[in-house]
Every structure is written in structure tokens, then in C-alpha cells.
């Protein structure tokens, strides 16, 4: 018997932004298996034009409410690259602490609020408050702490306020930092409980060979850096980001699409793990092996595991950074002098969902002439589409029904944790 499928998901739930899934299979033939982005365009690259360098980071951070710290940092990196500024080391450490805070915040939000309901058979985390209060409590504690890291490092949990061109505008006091370190150390136990929770998830078995792109760390699991690398062997300075992303416009989507060596590639936690796993903190590497995540992993659903692995890594890194920052204290200057000049600058950071590039061209007056931002989810859309096509083909062969393929397709998109409004900036 040949299978017939008809799935129409309008505005997929439990993802950031608006996207649709449409699947039609007739007599076993796939007529349609599409991921479409319908988000409203906002034109941030146009809005940035004419703005003073002091406005750029605050404006770019508004591209995304979940990865606002990543946008702020990529923007500052781009401006500082254009003006040839080296920021003080305490500022670099505080920014990286904020970056780790955001990785934790975003990954934990995704794991507990957006992804877990699929594995626990509930529509959202809300009913779990009655049925599994211990899970909600765990989520509350871990995410609350991640928010506190951002509060302390960046001045606020969403849309940072203490990062500025040249460095940072305030340095948190030592007592607050040390209390945060202690809380992070205590949270390792909660992360271990989360590992056991995720070990119980039945992660779909699916794989499609994929090219993975991330920043490359010389000696670390890079979150901020200047070299981008792909698992197909491409390696470039981030200033060549156009050659790494090759953005193009498609008819059916308000987000652009990207390609590199093949017709799609993936960025994000799985790409970072695949490309930089040897630089993980040993405790994080142990979690990867406990949960069966091995490089190179081509199963997009394993991104859930990669996120948790990164949470353990980021927590250890944050503890280490806090100790360094507390030792230096406020004795050092926290911001370098800024002399605007005409020129171009490119900044790149690993946002929770993957590598993010900002590129600004400045006039001599310190105002932006041209801006370009390439967003991680934009880079993932073509890969989500290719995965979906394969997933539907495989599922159709196993005679899966509408409801099952709707859930599996939705779970596939969620596994990428897409930031759709970000991708349509």
C-alpha cells in the first residue's frame, strides 16, 4: 500500500518566530515537504545606516530577544575592528562571561520550555507544574541562574546595557561575582540531574550527511573569534564571511538562504561540537559520551544533547572566568579610548544557534554607511529544508501517519531551535 500524507502546520509552536511546515504525499510520492519562513521583514540593515557608532550595538541587539547579547557583541566586535580598537582584558572577560550566560539562558529555555514537552508528551511546560513539579523546579533554578549571569555580566537579562564600544561601562562588584561563582558551582548538581532527564528522552534516529560550520578555536571551544571553519575543509578569516555564507534570496521565504560546499550547511551547537569537541571541558566531554554524542554526529535531533553538553562547558568556563575577573577587580580601566575613523569592520560570535556575523562600513564621522548581518538561523534554513525532505521520504516508506509526521517534522525544526524573527531581521 502506498502512503498518503497531508500535514499543514501554520505558525509552528514552541519556536521563536513564524514558520510553516507543509507536507503532501500522494501514493507514496512526495509532492511537497516544505519549511517556509513567513516572518515580517524588519530591515535592520537599512535602519543601521546613518547611525552613530554609539547607537549600533543597542540597535542590533533588538534584532533578537533571545540572543541579544550575541548581536550586541558581534556589533561591538565589528565596530572595534573598523576602528582598530583592542579592548581591555577585563572587558573581554566580562563580555565572554555574558556570552556564556546567554548560551546557558537560551539553551536551558530551549531544553525545558521548547523541546522537553515533545519528549514528555505535554503541550507545554505549564501542565508539568502539576504533574512533574521537580522538572519545573529544576528548569526554574537553572534558567534563573543563567539569567543572573547575564544580569551581572551584561547589566540585564535581555538587551545588554553594560557593554559599550571600547569595553564595558561597569564592572560588577567582587562579592556579587563570588556569590555567582558559588551558585554556579552548586548548579552543577542540577545539570547532572538534567543529564539524567535527557538520557530518558527518546531522540529520533535519523541522519543526513551535513557540512558543519563554526568558529574555530586554536586552543578553546570558541565563542568569539576570527577564524571560521567547515567540516568539509573550508577555513577562512571571518572577514571573508560572504564566501562562508553565500546568502541568496528565495521566493517562498522572507529569510534568505545560505550555502557553502554543498547546497546547505548547518551551524549551531552540533556544528560547534563536531568541529571543536577536543576543546570541551572534561566534564562536558563526559556528558557527551554519557549521552551517546560522538563526533562527527549527523543526526540533527542530537543538537538537544549538544546543547546540554555546552551548558556544562559554559558553566565551568563561567566559574573560571569569574575567578579571573574577581582577582583583577575594578583596578583596571574597563574601556579603551575610541577614535572613530572611516573603514570597514567585521565581527563574529557564536550565538546560541550558531555563527553570527556583523559587518559595518563607517564614514570618518563615526556613522554607519552600510551594514550587513548574517544570522545563524538564516544559515540553517536550507539545511532544515533538506533534512525535512529526507525525513519525510524516510517516514513515508515506514508508512507513518499524518499525526506522527507532523510531530516528527515539528520536532526536527525545533531541534534547530530556530530564531526566525532574527533570521528575517
Amino acid at each position: 500500500m502506498k502512503v498518503n500524507l497531508d500535514v499543514d502546520v501554520h505558525h509552528l509552536t514552541r519556536v521563536e518566530g513564524h514558520g510553516n511546515i507543509r507536507v503532501r504525499v500522494k501514493d507514496g510520492n512526495i509532492e511537497e515537504a516544505n519549511w517556509t519562513v513567513v516572518e515580517t521583514p524588519r530591515f535592520f540593515e537599512v535602519m543601521l545606516k546613518g547611525k552613530h557608532f554609539s547607537t549600533a550595538a543597542a540597535l542590533s541587539s533588538r534584532i533578537c530577544g533571545i540572543c541579544s547579547i550575541a548581536h550586541c557583541l558581534a556589533s561591538l566586535e565589528a565596530t572595534e575592528h573598523a576602528f582598530d580598537i583592542t579592548i581591555p582584558s577585563i572587558a573581554a572577560k566580562l563580555r565572554l562571561l555574558g556570552k556564556h550566560g546567554e548560551t546557558l539562558q537560551s539553551h536551558l529555555l530551549h531544553l525545558f520550555f521548547l523541546a522537553a514537552p515533545d519528549f514528555l508528551n505535554v503541550p507545554s511546560v505549564i501542565p508539568l507544574a502539576a504533574t512533574s513539579p521537580e522538572v519545573v523546579d529544576l528548569a526554574r533554578r537553572l534558567k534563573g541562574l543563567a539569567n543572573r549571569v547575564c544580569d551581572i555580566a551584561a547589566g540585564r537579562t535581555t538587551h545588554p546595557v553594560s557593554f559599550c564600544v571600547g569595553g564595558v561601562s561597569s564592572v560588577p562588584n567582587r562579592d556579587r561575582l563570588l556569590q555567582l561563582r558559588d551558585a554556579l558551582e552548586r548548579s552543577l548538581e542540577d545539570l547532572a540531574t538534567s543529564v539524567e532527564l535527557v538520557a530518558g528522552f527518546s531522540i529520533p534516529r535519523f541522519a543526513r550527511e551535513t557540512e558543519f560550520v563554526s568558529l574555530k578555536g586554536e586552543s578553546d571551544y570558541a565563542f568569539i573569534g576570527r577564524t571560521a571553519v567547515s567540516s568539509d575543509g573550508v577555513e577562512r578569516d571571518v572577514s571573508d564571511y560572504r564566501q562562508m555564507t553565500n546568502e541568496y534570496v528565495v521566493k517562498h521565504s522572507t529569510s534568505k538562504y545560505c550555502r557553502l560546499s554543498r547546497d546547505s550547511f548547518a551551524v549551531g551547537p552540533l556544528a560547534r561540537f563536531n568541529n571543536n569537541h577536543e576543546h570541551l571541558h572534561p566534564a562536558a566531554a563526559e556528558v557527551a559520551s554519557r549521552l551517546g554524542l560522538e563526533p562527527v554526529c549527523h543526526n540533527p535531533f542530537m543538537a538537544h544533547v549538544a546543547r546540554l553538553v555546552e551548558c556544562v562547558h559554559a558553566t565551568h568556563q563561567a566559574i573560571h572566568l569569574i575567578e579571573e575577573i574577581a582577582d583583577t577587580g575594578a583596578s583596571e580601566r574597563a574601556a579603551a579610548d575610541v577614535e572613530p575613523r572611516a573603514g570597514e569592520g567585521i565581527g563574529a560570535v557564536e550565538a546560541p544557534r550558531g555563527i553570527l556575523y556583523h559587518h559595518y562600513e563607517y564614514g570618518a564621522n563615526g556613522k554607519i554607511v552600510r551594514a550587513n548581518c548574517v544570522i545563524p538561523t538564516t544559515q540553517n534554513h536550507a539545511n532544515i529544508q533538506n533534512d525535512l525532505t529526507d525525513l519525510v521520504a524516510q517516514s513515508a516508506e515506514t508508512m507513518m501517519q499524518d499525526g506522527e509526521i507532523e510531530l516528527l517534522g515539528s520536532m526536527l525544526v525545533r531541534a534547530y531551535d530556530p530564531c526566525i524573527s532574527c533570521s528575517v531581521h
Partner: protein, 260 residues
């Protein structure tokens, strides 16, 4: 559970997102210390970003985002028909937010710059109240979860809510923050010139997170009541700030349209 002899309501709330970064609805899932109590005091029937439950039977609709496309207008009109109370959640919904910055450009040119010869539909950004009547506005970029909680308490106990009339300045002083108007100017180091801080003219209620972290207030909450704009602008002029610098701050969130 009765409190002071009054039975609380458990309002049926739906959360809808339009053109925005979705950071405001994210705040609803923050505030972890009181999250369980917060979610327990209301009945969230539709909240796409965190739940797969969908429902068209709600009393309160929270709208996040500005309105920038014709399908958004239709969707907003449908929601307005169903909701008894419509709340604009966040600066984009209340004033249009940073989205309004695009209105200063020719949108056809903007479209061509971003999408080449395959333009996408877009309208000048508008606030929610430009399209439908709004009962309550919760400004902020992002909104303060504490303020959202306070407003929800008022809705649960059916007590009218009055937003603070005083400016951000007052709350900044309560935090003993160093005034960013009086520090040396960042980057140029000019003694005591400070930054352009809209704290004296912006509505309070946020507890001044920005100036407390060394970044001036850019006015995401819109004008305070009876703000003395004239005197504020003349002080900025005295301090040597140029017209375009003041304009860039005032325009940022689209919340001071018509002033100056």
C-alpha cells in the same frame, strides 16, 4: 482562595506576537522566583512561543510587536473582536519601537537593498493603538517582569492600574546610581559632559537598569507625565550636544514622536 474576602479572578490570557524580537514575551517566562505562582494565578490559553495548546476563547490578549504587514492588520482585528481587554506588551506594541526607524527610509529602496529584485511586502511600522483601541499599555524594551506581575495582580483583583507618572530619574536616584549626565563624556573624555540621558523625561517603572549599568536612558518607556521637555532640551544644548545626537536618542524607540 479568598483574599480580604474577595474571590480572585483567573483571567484567560492569550499572548500574540507581531513584528518584534519576541524578547517581551520571553520576559513572561523569566522571573523564575515567582514563575510558578505567576503561571498559577492566570490561565494561559494560547502562547505560541512556549506552548502547543491553541485556543480562541480568551478574555485578555497581550500583543507583542509593531504592525508592519497587511496580514498582521487582519490578524490584529480578529484578536480585537475576541478580546475584552487588549494589552500592548512592550515598546514595539506601545509605540512602534525600533521598527519605526525604517519609516525614515524609502521602503522600496530598503526592499531592494535587502532583497534585490525579489521584494517582500512591508508597510510603515505602526503601534497597535494606531490600528485598534488598546485598554492597557505596558512599555519597556524589554518589559519589566515585575511590572507585568504588578499589572496582572491588578487584573486578577479587578483593581484599576495607574502607571507611574514620575520619571526614570527618580528610580535611578533610589538605586544610588552615579548620574550618567554628570560623568565625563564617554570616548571623548570631556569633563562632566556626560551622556544624553532621557531619564528626566521618561516614564518610570523599570527601576532604571540602564543608567545603573552606566548606559544612559534612551526612553523606551515613552514620556513621563508633565515632562518638562523645553527645559530638558535647553540643558542638552547648553552642554554642547548637537541636534542630531539628541534626535538619534529621541527617535530610537519611536516613543517621543511629536516632541521637539
Amino acid at each position: 482562595m479568598k483574599y480580604l474576602g474577595i474571590e480572585p479572578k483567573k483571567p484567560r490570557i492569550a499572548v500574540f506576537d507581531f513584528t518584534s524580537c519576541e524578547g517581551c514575551q520571553l520576559q513572561l517566562a523569566n522571573g523564575e522566583d515567582t514563575l510558578v505562582e505567576f503561571l498559577g494565578s492566570i490561565d494561559i490559553v494560547d502562547f505560541r512561543e512556549i506552548s502547543s495548546s491553541r485556543c480562541e476563547d480568551y478574555e485578555i490578549a497581550m500583543i507583542e510587536g509593531a504592525i508592519t504587514r497587511s496580514d498582521e492588520i487582519d490578524r490584529l482585528l480578529r484578536i480585537r473582536e475576541k478580546a475584552k481587554t487588549l494589552i500592548a506588551l512592550g515598546t514595539c506594541a506601545c509605540f512602534g519601537g525600533v521598527n519605526k526607524l525604517k519609516n525614515a527610509f524609502n521602503l522600496n529602496d530598503a526592499n531592494e537593498e535587502v532583497y534585490g529584485d525579489d521584494p517582500k511586502e512591508t508597510l510603515p511600522a505602526r503601534a497597535v493603538h494606531d490600528i485598534v483601541p488598546v485598554e492597557l499599555k505596558i512599555p519597556g524594551c524589554p518589559v519589566s517582569k515585575r511590572e507585568v506581575e504588578r499589572i496582572i495582580q491588578h487584573l486578577v483583583w479587578d483593581v484599576p492600574y495607574t502607571p507611574p507618572a514620575y520619571p526614570v530619574c527618580l528610580e535611578c536616584k533610589q538605586r544610588y546610581a552615579v548620574c550618567v549626565c554628570d560623568i565625563d563624556a564617554p570616548w571623548t573624555g570631556e569633563k562632566g559632559k556626560g551622556q544624553i540621558c532621557l531619564g528626566p523625561i521618561t516614564r518610570g517603572g523599570c527601576m532604571a537598569p540602564c543608567p545603573a549599568a552606566g548606559m544612559a536612558c534612551w526612553g523606551c518607556r515613552g514620556p513621563a507625565e508633565d515632562a518638562n521637555l523645553e527645559s530638558f532640551f535647553s540643558i542638552l544644548k547648553e552642554r554642547g550636544f548637537e541636534e542630531w545626537e539628541v534626535r538619534e536618542r529621541l527617535d530610537f524607540f519611536g516613543a517621543f514622536e511629536g516632541s521637539k
